[in-house]
Subunit: 293 residues, 2 copies
């Protein structure tokens, strides 16, 4: 049985903009959205995915902060952090028996022509990623189409916002599969490594961990940030950098990191093997699982 | 009262892939989608909007053909044209008293983890665009971030597919509004005019109508195609071309054309006035309204 818990956020219009009333639990298998919701017709909303370990929400506050930043980039009403925190906490409590679960929170522009958003939080059991953590991922490098400075030049392209418009991210994973790979890694039109469709890149060279700079129009990784904090305590140097394919080819190890899959080591890039650091992968993932906000 | 008619498509799994059973009318104001539908969580689906004049569907077949092309670009199951035609026809019949209406058809990848798509057709009255047709639109030129050859080099970026992932298209319209304009016109990173967020560009120079080439990663316009067919009968030359800002600045007239708004003349581009051709605008829109498939 795959447990699934849904909380619907309730909003009311007010002269100062929509007010969040709170949440109510609802049936996740029953229809909850109309076909005129702008989530469904325009991918017009933002989301976050927060992992839950035995009922503990991991890195909730950084996720809520990024949720607010994404909402601002889309000119959505600012999410009420207290109301979203409550909904996540209620869901986490109901999934406390699961070793690993996650909650996805979604804020949409609501029904077209209306003046209140739609919001929900859906908690589910995490898939078993032990094989990926052990064997690693083969990734295909795919052009993201955008130049590396897009976030500065063209904010309306929403680079760096976590939006519901993820059709390209999913198409990239299918293209990677066509190339015999497990996942994609995006590269800017000018050859700078960016991010995976739902993950950040971390590479290790000796005792230094590097990740692409967030001003490259990529998502600021909450999991990546937690890994760096842990690694600094362990004596690693860390840096945000401009990384290119050569840096990856020469890396001692590399990972795609994300909230639910945690740190998935890369074993190949475009068919060329790169080393899997099994010991460090295990230590990173143990540290991620042990997080408490 | 704004009439609204919803038809839900029914699908069944089969060994050869999902089979379309037909449609049923449903309450457009009632929830119909679960929060796990990939339309709502990933903008993972495709759509078309078909205008209806006094119950007549306009350019239905080209729209159904483009719907199928978009679905193929997203590796979605091929839409059954008969079933979608029936749903559109049923909706058009119920909106026959309206002078102008439209039906939006949507095919999504369905509920995450499932094996059948979700589909619906929503018919509504068209807004009144007479002021826009008369006064014209001020548009802001906005960088689309992508180079002009993206469709050939990087098909996973889905340039030219009409997907539900339209957050950027909507953000561009908000950015245009911030600049005091009514709509946006996208330009490639290398300065080639592309399309509006939900429309195609047509410009007139003397007796020649030009539109950006469809190999530029833009949507092949059904309304643009109908306008060109009509214009050729009227003795205009027509061409698909590489157009740049200078071509627009020197144009005798220009329009953003789309299924529901029809031909909306431009009156300014980034604040610089361009001529509105009121007579030709009226003739084009009369021809569009008179279309029968």
């Amino acid at each position: 049985m795959s447990a699934s818990v849904l909380a619907i956020l309730d909003f009311a219009a007010s002269p100062e903009g929509p007010r969040t009333l709170g949440h109510r639990l609802a049936d996740p298998d029953a229809p909850q959205l109309t076909v005129a919701d702008l989530a469904a017709t325009r991918g017009d909303g933002v989301f976050e995915t927060i992992s839950i370990g035995r009922g503990r929400l991991q890195a909730l506050e950084p996720h809520l902060a990024r949720f607010a930043r994404s909402a601002a980039m889309l000119d959505l009403p600012a999410p009420d952090p207290g109301a979203w925190r409550d909904a996540c906490t209620a869901i986490a409590a109901r999934l406390a028996e699961l070793p690993e679960a996650f909650v996805k929170i979604v804020l949409t522009r609501g029904i077209e022509g209306g003046d209140i958003p739609t919001g929900w939080a859906l908690g589910q059991a995490s898939p078993d990623f032990s094989a990926v953590h052990r064997d690693g991922l083969a990734v295909a490098l795919l052009d993201r189409g955008l130049p590396h400075d897009v976030a500065a030049t063209s904010p309306w392209l929403l680079a760096g916002a976590k939006t519901l418009s993820y059709a390209v991210n999913r198409a990239a994973v299918r293209e990677a599969a066509r190339r015999g790979a497990d996942d994609a890694l995006f590269v800017s039109t000018d050859g700078v490594l960016l991010e995976g469709p739902v993950s950040n890149l971390v590479i290790r060279r000796g005792r230094r961990l590097s990740t692409p700079r967030v001003d490259l129009g990529i998502l600021a990784g909450t999991t990546q940030a937690d890994i760096f904090r842990w690694a600094e305590r362990e004596g690693y140097e860390t840096e945000q950098a401009i990384l290119r394919q050569a840096d990856l080819a020469e890396a001692d190890a590399a990972w795609l990191v994300s909230s639910v899959r945690h740190a998935a080591p890369l074993r190949a890039v475009d068919g060329a093997a790169i080393p899997v650091d099994a010991e460090l992968t295990a230590r990173i993932n143990a540290a991620l699982r042990a997080r408490v906000d």
